[in-house]
């Protein structure tokens, strides 16, 4: 008899569709860390990332009937997570525009909490410079560029998977990564040029 942990994602999804909520637990436990990492890269904030993990799995559960196995379950989940994160980012931007309060303390992002592996002063200075510029640089990326870059650079996804996540052709996914790198290079060169 096949144990539950040997089930493929597709088999578990099929079981969930039959109404077996506990089967969904297998998917949650398998993918929650990866979803957290993606959400954190997208939102830059641990609390938001945790909210996005919940939101992603809740949406996935509600939409499990629409998972048809054409892409892998993780790709499908990444797509949901990306959309959730982008919704949050848009919502925050809209809220910040309305609030427009310069004195308001921004939520700390992962960029502010960087831990250099070696406390080399030169590297710290450079990292500090890069970190200061990185968040505004990421905000210059379009939504597609941001998702494509995060998936490519931090999650190690191939172009095909990125294309399926974004729902675009592979060329478009590839160009989104290129444009993201170009924009980040332009934005970060002032910091990078300090020691190079």
């Amino acid at each position: 008899m096949t144990s539950r942990m040997e089930w493929t994602d597709e088999a578990v999804a099929a079981e969930t569709r039959k109404g077996n909520t506990n089967a969904f637990r297998v998917l949650v436990e398998r993918h929650s860390r990866a979803v957290f990492r993606l959400a954190y890269r997208m939102t830059g904030n641990q609390q938001d990332a945790e909210d996005m993990v919940q939101e992603t799995f809740l949406r996935a559960y509600k939409q499990i009937g629409h998972f048809d196995g054409r892409s892998s379950f993780s790709t499908w989940l990444y797509r949901i997570c990306s959309n959730c994160s982008l919704d949050l980012i848009r919502s925050r931007k809209a809220h910040e525009k309305k609030r427009d309060s310069p004195g308001e303390e921004k939520t700390a992002s992962w960029i502010d909490r960087l831990a250099a592996p070696e406390p080399d002063p030169e590297r710290l200075m450079q990292s500090s410079q890069v970190s200061r510029l990185l968040e505004p640089a990421m905000e210059q990326l379009s939504e597609m560029e941001r998702v494509a870059f995060v998936l490519r650079h931090f999650e190690g996804c191939g172009v095909e998977e990125i294309a399926k996540t974004l729902g675009v052709q592979q060329n478009a996914a590839k160009h989104s990564v290129f444009r993201a790198v170009q924009k980040l290079r332009r934005a970060l060169e002032p910091a990078w040029g300090v020691t190079h």
């Binding site: 929650s32 919704d87 990292s127 890069v130 970190s131």
Partner: protein, 240 residues
Amino acid sequence: MGGHPLNHLTDGELTEIYYGEIAPAVQDHLKDCAECRDRLRQTEDLLCSLLQYPVPEPEEGYEGRVWAELVPRLSQNKTWNIRFLWKPLVFAPALVAVVFLTATVWLVRQGAHHGFGISQQDQARVLSNTLTEHLDRSQVLLLELANAKPGPNVLKNAQEFARDLADENRLLRFASHGDRDETNRVLLEELERVLLSIANAPANFSSDDLAALQRRIDDEGLLFKVRITDSDLRSKERKL
């Protein structure tokens, strides 16, 4: 591209090299071109620097915690995962409650009614409960449509549901007038516009029309806003 020393590598090609996609012609060019090697080094340095910023590793047992927090919400979803066939049985009493509630709230605010002896706190609780239930039902509709595939009669069941939700939404919006916090009223206005679009969609609703509707739901982040407001209201309800 990339095979001739005079044709330097593009940024795109340098990026591809970084991610491990190296065409033979590009490899040959790199051997011959110091400038491109230098640019590649800069690209690698830049992209590698981004990897220094780690994601905080969730604690041991994180997966279990995620599941434990998720389970109650999955149960709520099942309650509201009504199919349209069951809608009339669920909807009619809810609509009656909304009409009664909003009339009461309106009359009390006009100073014309004592609110049937119901305290303001209880009225607030009832309004909040009704609003969260309305938002739950709206989420079901929006999710169904956001994930609908084009086809004949794609809106067949959704339109009547949207019409009823729009009526309920109007009353709730009315009841929310005068609240100091305008967040709910603003959301209900946005939601009502989308519900009315669905309810009043023409008979010849095409796949392009469906795609446009789905983009609109997506672009406005409506599902997310409904979810967040629902969640906030439930938190406040627990405190009331």
